[in-house]
Amino acid sequence: MIGHLLKLAWRRKSSSGLLLAELLASFAVVFVVATSVVFLARCWRLPLGYEWRNVWSVRVERVRTGEQRFTPEEVAGFARLLREGAAIEGVAAIAGSMSSPYDNNTSSGDRPFGGHQVQMEFTEFTDGARDVLHLDLVKGRWFEPADDALPYAPVVVDEQFAREAFGSEDPIGKSFGTPPDDRDERVVGVVRDYRKGGELSIPVGMVMRRTPVGRDEDRPPNLLLVRAASGVDSGFEERLVTRLHDIMPEWTFEPRALEDMRAESFRSRLVVLALGATISGFLLLMVALGLTGVLWQNVTRRTREFGLRRAAGASQGDIRRQVIMEVVLTAAFALAIGVILAAQIPILDVVPFVGAGTIAAGATIAGILVLATVVAAGLYPSVLATRIRPAEALRDE
């Protein structure tokens, strides 16, 4: 039967071609959305590498004096904040940083390691960051005040970066320079994968640099990360800011709980996905309606063909199956092309961070949805085809 149906489809190749294009385009749209959903679901299950509960990120607005310049007073002021801030009631740990989890300050780059480019993100921490974020050290050591005297810049990397840059070699003691300033940097420790962007972010290797505090030549960070002791009351945030302001009256402080930043980051990422899913849902509905129309017309035009088949002994079920199988075959052809195209994504490594498994899952979901749409669109026209009475159909000329 399939051979016969293929022959019929070939006879109407120009309209079949357009149907094919339509189904292929539908597959592409659903594939992109489905793959994103699968990808985000997988990201969601990966460990985060830090503990966000009870942590506040406080943006420190110094009186601005350009981006690159800073005064000795500012450097000393930041050191005071860290020193005296640790004594504020309810503060369990405090550190300075260039970026906080869930915020939009990202600096990233890539450089060659062992013949291939490795993507990375950077952040800068003062020595206290490990205690604030509860970073889990798996190898080597964390930063310490004695690092001020080192002839090189110590960095701590996460496991993903260590794996991508150094493979199975021991990363501790490895030396490299990173843009833009290419100073000599050496790995002193490895922490668990640190996903700055949060649960829904693309996992990228992380390089943590150490910000020394209190030396005139060092740029002070612009964020304070503060861990509150467990069980602080709701007035903690205001007390914290008031006390910080007492320490440095010229500066302003903008506190945000990581919990709120996390919710905000989820919202902004999911809104895009929800929008994409809604639009592709409507597109699929539009395709279903359009196909119904096309098949309906197709069936009414082929009255005599169906009549002949009925006269030759085909049952109503046979006719119904024929109508549905015809369009399913076209869809299968479109899906085959779609899957071959989708397979090029992992083969050519177009989107390196999305694995082949995710793409396969996305393609499978998209394939099933497109097939379901096609079958749903074929149902009514196929019933219509069975209503044709053989005698009337053959008489119709």
Binding site: L19, T242, L283, V287, Q297
Partner: protein
């Protein structure tokens, strides 16, 4: 020429005859145009000349500066020192305003945390923009020079600090300063990120005075031209002045650029974040690039609906084969029939466009009411409708062409017998 009305009459009759096909076509068209209209409404909200930027079409915006050297480039906002010396007195400009980009500042009122965006502006800011004053009045350049601790606040800020009661004469504590409120303005959507803020204070109230000499900092400027025709002259003059200006960090960098952009160019520079788009580099300007990207995105989005409509239309053509056969047999020319079909399809798309416009204004009103984006007033205005109309026409022609061509090739005799395939 009563050809077109005649064709329209046939068009509407055939639409009514096959209600299901008409519904399917209209559903696809209306949905497609709905999405495009909503996207256009958002774009318009970001770059359209809305109050308070009623004079946006003759305003140039200066914000980013870029230094580049052999090894690195660095981009930051402009500094007061540079703008004051080179932009404020730009010849040919009708008016110039300097301001800081908003800083966030936190206040606590009775234990409640209030977050505000604090912007420092000069007196000219209030005359270039059409801010709607609900209470009090703007401050002046003199207030700015005297660094008087006063502020104009937004209506939302008034609600947050004073529970909606009259604010003029009262004080707010913000960013470590106590400012007396002199005016209250209607809220500006945060999508207009260059001018939106919750609290506007005079530039002079910035603590210290290190900012006064900076080439790079966190300042921006509005240049109001007498007409958009003056833009090229203003660009040339600004470029010449930037060239004469000493490079802020000559050790590491060899060039210093401060571009002035239209509001669309400004948005494009922000969205594309293209560091190569500064100075005299050849190639597409950011606005041209963004326009191209938007056009390609709109086309890509229309692909699937267009193919769908072509398929539906082809079916309609084949179904109407007997009618076409009759008309051919009675002497209608091919081009007449093609014209008939294209008119029908465009009429259908326009009906779809009207439905889409109605739906879009409902959806946009719902988005506005939901407060997802604070203070935004989204709507379908004549600019958005114009783009929608253009999209409808393009879509109608695109999806009508293939079926019309197929229709014209139908053989009259075959068509009469309903045998077209």
């Amino acid at each position: 020429m009563n050809k077109v009305p005649g064709a329209l009459k046939i068009a509407f009759r055939s639409m009514l005859r096959r209600k299901f096909f008409t519904f399917v076509s209209l559903f696809g068209i209306a949905f497609t145009l709905l999405v495009l209209l909503i996207a256009a409404a958002f774009l318009d909200q970001v770059v359209g000349p809305h109050p308070p930027e009623s004079r946006g079409e003759r305003t140039l915006y200066v914000e980013r500066t870029r230094m580049s050297g052999e090894h690195s480039t660095q981009q930051t906002d402009s500094g007061y020192g540079f703008l004051d010396k080179n932009v404020r007195n730009l010849p040919g400009a009708e008016n110039v305003s300097l301001f800081t980009m908003p800083d966030s500042a936190v206040s606590y009122v009775d234990g409640r945390k209030i977050k505000s965006r604090l912007k420092r502006v000069d007196g000219a800011f209030w005359s270039i923009l059409d801010m709607q004053f609900l209470e009090g009045a703007p401050f002046t350049d003199d207030d700015d020079r005297q660094a008087r601790p006063i502020a104009v606040i937004s209506a939302g800020t008034r609600d947050r600090f004073f529970g909606g009661a009259t604010a003029v004469g009262k004080t707010i504590d913000i960013g470590g300063q106590r400012l007396r409120v002199v005016g209250v303005v209607a809220d500006v959507s945060p999508l207009r990120n260059l001018i939106a803020a919750d609290v506007y204070a005079p530039i002079g109230t910035i603590p210290g005075d290190a900012w006064r000499g900076e080439a790079q900092g966190n300042f921006g400027a509005l240049i109001l031209a007498r007409s958009p025709k003056d833009f090229p002259a203003l660009h040339t003059e600004l470029r010449a002045r930037v060239k004469r200006f000493p490079i802020p960090d000559p050790k590491n960098y060899t060039t210093f650029d401060v571009p002035a952009d239209s509001i669309f160019g400004m948005a494009a520079r922000g969205i594309l974040d293209d560091s190569r788009s500064y100075g005299d580099t050849p190639g597409l300007s950011p606005s041209a690039k963004l326009a191209l990207i938007l056009a390609v995105a709109a086309l890509a989005f229309m692909t699937l609906p267009a193919i769908n409509l072509v398929n539906v239309n082809l079916s309609r053509v084949l179904e109407r084969a007997p009618e076409i056969g009759v008309r051919r047999a009675f002497g209608a020319t091919r081009s007449r029939l093609v014209g008939q079909f294209v008119v029908e399809n465009v009429a259908l798309t326009l009906v779809g466009g009207i439905i889409a416009a109605v739906l879009a204004s409902l959806v946009l009103a719902a988005i506005t009411a939901s407060g997802v984006i604070p203070y935004v007033r989204l709507g379908v205005n004549y600019r958005v409708l114009g783009w929608g109309l253009l999209a409808s026409l393009f879509f109608g022609l695109l999806s009508g062409a293939v079926p019309a061509w197929r229709m014209s090739r139908l053989h009259p005799v075959e068509a009469l017998r309903g045998r077209a395939s």
